[in-house]
Amino acid sequence: MHCIYTVTSLSDHLIQIPLPKERDLDACSASTELLETPEVIAKNRRERVQLWQVVVHNDPVNLMSYVTMVFCKIFGFNKQISEKHMLEVHHHGRSILWVGDREQAELYVQKLHAELLLATLEPAL
């Protein structure tokens, strides 16, 4: 069985799609060639290993105690670690809260947005 890989736009799930059998390949050879070029394979490989970071940005409205509480709740940090990140946000304008795969990073950003914090996800360097 041949397989190709594609990546969904929002959550980067890897989805296995079975290719047609040999006798059907002529009919779809153009699209298959497009998907299996070395560049596409390399790009997919890079995306699979790419790590993403969840960044929280400073805003002057949210209370420091509130931000600390939200970090404890969402990331399961203890108070000391949450305060460290909160102070980093306060003094340096941003703090990286988490690094990992994109799907989980998106979930964390969504949870932070639900609590009204300014959060983004970025490719980790």
Partner: protein, 159 residues
């Protein structure tokens, strides 16, 4: 106004003077996240670079957030409705009591109101930190005072 956390884990803001109870109710009622003007002040982007992600976010995540915040607004409104029905004639004050399960909704709504007021009046950090100098006769001064009240309530619920 005094704050208590009861042994049954209910929260209580006690002895709220009628003018303050009216102010709290009016402001919270006016900040329904379903209103487009309020929502646009609250909805954030997930990336400063990836436009496709932002577009997907707007389509899929923002509606869910508005539903979540609207449910918080409903919870808070029902707690305020109960408060309004229980004016203590003896002390001419209201007691706002709600279960700890409503804490999250209250924290979110207090934050929504503060963020929204800050955006509406374009308060700078210095203005928000200086609690001693605001003119209550102006809408801007009144909004600063409201922010102070709501941040005090948030602080009580967090501690």
């Amino acid at each position: 106004m005094q704050f208590f956390q009861h042994k049954n884990s209910n929260f209580e803001f006690r002895n709220i003077e009628p003018w303050l109870a009216h102010e709290i109710t009016t402001v919270l009622c006016a900040h329904d996240p379903k209103q487009a003007t309020i929502a646009t002040r609250l909805l954030a982007v997930p990336s400063y670079e990836d436009e496709q992600l932002c577009a997907d976010w707007e389509e899929h995540v923002h509606p869910d957030l508005i539903v979540l915040w609207s449910s918080c607004h409903s919870i808070v409104m029902s707690d305020l409705q109960k408060m309004a029905e229980n004016l203590s004639r003896k002390k001419n004050a209201y007691d706002l009591i709600f279960p700890s399960s409503h804490q999250e909704a209250w924290l979110r709504m207090l934050n929504i109101v503060r963020l929204s007021l800050a955006a509406e009046h374009q308060f700078c950090e210095q203005e928000m930190n200086d609690n001693s100098d605001f003119d209550l006769s102006t809408p801007r001064g009144e909004a600063l005072a409201q922010m102070l009240v709501f941040s005090g309530m948030q602080q009580c619920l967090i501690s």
